[in-house]
């Protein structure tokens, strides 16, 4: 049955009103600098934080930033918080990416976190010694398998062209098997690839940060213990910042997210109240 023109006009107007409301729900709290009240970190964020926190100083942690600009709003704050945590605890982050269009983004996060380390923790971080940015190498799954055999062979130079062979940050690291923890931030199948071709083969602890829409897919891996923890969407980044006691982009986005979620709930409830009323009065049929 064709929809009458008057109903089409009404739907079009409603859609535009919703767009304005959603935009206001997101922009106004950000513009006013509103921050949420006290909140507790979700269990899986807590687990990942505890895992990183349990590593002794000097431990190498591989961070794979497998995302591009499309999902930076959710994943970039996670990367920044993880790097700050590593620098605070004197861990040595080895950062790479499997996404060619994410290289500059990853480089920017690493540099910013390293630059902020001195004012934050009173320690200057030196590339190649306290951290290393390995950049991107093609090969996808085969790259992971090669890293499992010979990490310095897979990355013969870092992003800046310095040889990795004698780099202090990679001292005594031969392959993925020598790393106690790998964390992947991704908005794609890379999370599962890291589990299948990385963690399950080379026996390292594995955690991930994913976009909110991907979060539900990861629960089987969390329950099976294949993932030690997970940061889920912008809330995951906010959780990590709260645990780190360094509030940043993740936490500042929480008020926008709260208002937007409540708005959608109110809209759906209002539409259903109208639907039920019309059904009871016989004006709406199945």
């Amino acid at each position: 049955m064709a929809i009458p023109p008057s109903e089409l006009r009404r739907l079009a107007i409603t859609r535009h009103v919703i767009y304005v409301l959603v935009a206001a729900a997101v922009v106004v709290p950000l513009a006013l600098g509103l921050t949420p009240g006290k909140f507790e970190a979700t269990p899986y964020s807590h687990k990942l934080f505890d895992k990183v926190n349990s590593l002794p100083p000097g431990t190498r942690v591989l961070l794979s930033f497998d995302f591009d600009p499309g999902t930076e709003a959710e994943l970039l704050p996670m990367g920044a918080a993880l790097l700050r945590h590593c620098f605070r605890n004197r861990l040595v982050p080895l950062v790479m990416t499997n996404i060619p269009s994410g290289v500059d983004l990853a480089r920017k996060i690493v540099k910013e976190a390293a630059d902020r380390s001195e004012p934050d923790w009173g320690r200057k971080q030196t590339s190649g010694v306290d951290y290393v940015f390995l950049g991107y190498r093609p090969g996808d799954v085969n790259l992971l398998l090669n890293m499992g055999e010979n990490l310095k062979g897979a990355f013969q130079n870092d992003y800046y062209g310095k040889p990795t062979e004698d780099m202090p940050a990679l001292k005594d690291i031969r392959s993925l098997k020598d790393l106690p923890l790998v964390i992947d931030l991704a908005a794609s199948a890379w999370v599962e690839l890291w589990i299948v071709y990385g963690a399950d083969r080379f026996n390292f602890a594995y955690g991930a940060g994913v976009t909110a829409v991907m979060g539900p897919d990861m629960y089987p891996f969390l329950q099976s213990g294949q993932m030690v923890g997970m940061l889920n969407g912008l809330r995951g980044a906010a959780d990590y910042e709260v645990l780190l006691e360094k509030l940043d982009r993740g936490t500042f986005g929480m008020m926008s997210q709260s208002v937007a979620h409540v708005l959608v709930i109110v809209l759906v409830l209002a539409a259903n109240a109208r639907f039920v009323y019309r059904r009871l009065t016989g004006r709406e049929k199945d």
């Binding site: 919703i18 591009d68 709003a73």
Partner: protein, 227 residues
């Protein structure tokens, strides 16, 4: 037709079998084979990049030539590609064969940070508008299943944001702050987990079956044609 059908099928069978078998051979030769394959993939990827770029530009050139609806957008594809390729090759006057200086914002990086990043982020953020609009217009409690889904959606959406803790405190005092987050977590940890695991197992079994069909030449749709 042996060169169109038999040779490709044989190549797929041999390559697939080697890719499968070498995983079970713990020998240095197996590792070397994998490294060789990785190198080959990089080379093929390089050619693939050219084919992809040619295909994209050819399609948009055809649109402009035929003045198809929305052909103006195709002009921007050429403009964007030309500007970024030029900036990459120019490399601040140093030419394409010199590494850019570390930690110096090049023109190419400027284009990346201030054009590509906002554009991609904008495209992804549009999702929020569509989701809100679609939820309002289509999510109706027509039966019990829809009512359960709506209830679960509201609990999860509300429990995921910090404001739910404030609301819990307001209703039930300090002890109630975790009411909505915990309810949300229970839904994610049990019904969601069960459904996702079922889907995961089903998809994995399907992928294995499909791989075997391709390996043994039963599934040939990837070769084109009707059979």
């Amino acid at each position: 037709m042996w060169y169109k059908r038999t040779i490709p099928l044989a190549l797929v069978f041999v390559a697939g079998l080697l890719g499968f078998v070498h995983e079970y051979i713990p020998h240095p030769l197996s590792g070397e084979f994998r490294e060789e394959v990785t190198t080959s993939i990089r080379i093929i990827g390089g050619f693939g990049l050219f084919i992809g770029a040619y295909s994209l530009l050819h399609m948009h050139f055809s649109r402009i030539r035929r003045r198809q609806s929305g052909w103006g957008y195709s002009v921007f594809v050429f403009l964007g590609a030309a500007v970024m390729i030029f900036l990459g090759l120019w490399n601040e006057g140093d030419g394409p064969l010199v590494d850019p200086q570390p930690d110096v914002m090049t023109s190419l990086q400027w284009g990346y940070y201030y054009v590509l990043v906002p554009c991609q982020a904008t495209i992804f953020s549009i999702l929020a508008f569509f989701m809100a609009s679609a939820a309002f217009r289509t999510f109706r409690v027509r039966n019990l299943s829809a009512a359960l889904l709506l209830g679960a959606a509201i609990i999860v959406m509300f429990g995921r944001v910090p404001i739910s803790e404030e609301f819990g405190r307001l209703l039930f005092g300090e002890g109630g702050s975790q009411l909505f987050p915990k309810a949300s977590q229970v839904l994610m940890d049990y019904p969601n987990l069960a459904a996702k695991r079922g889907i995961l197992l089903g998809v994995s079994l399907g992928a294995i079956a499909q791989s075997l069909r391709i390996l043994f030449g039963i599934e040939r749709s990837y070769m084109g044609g009707g059979d």
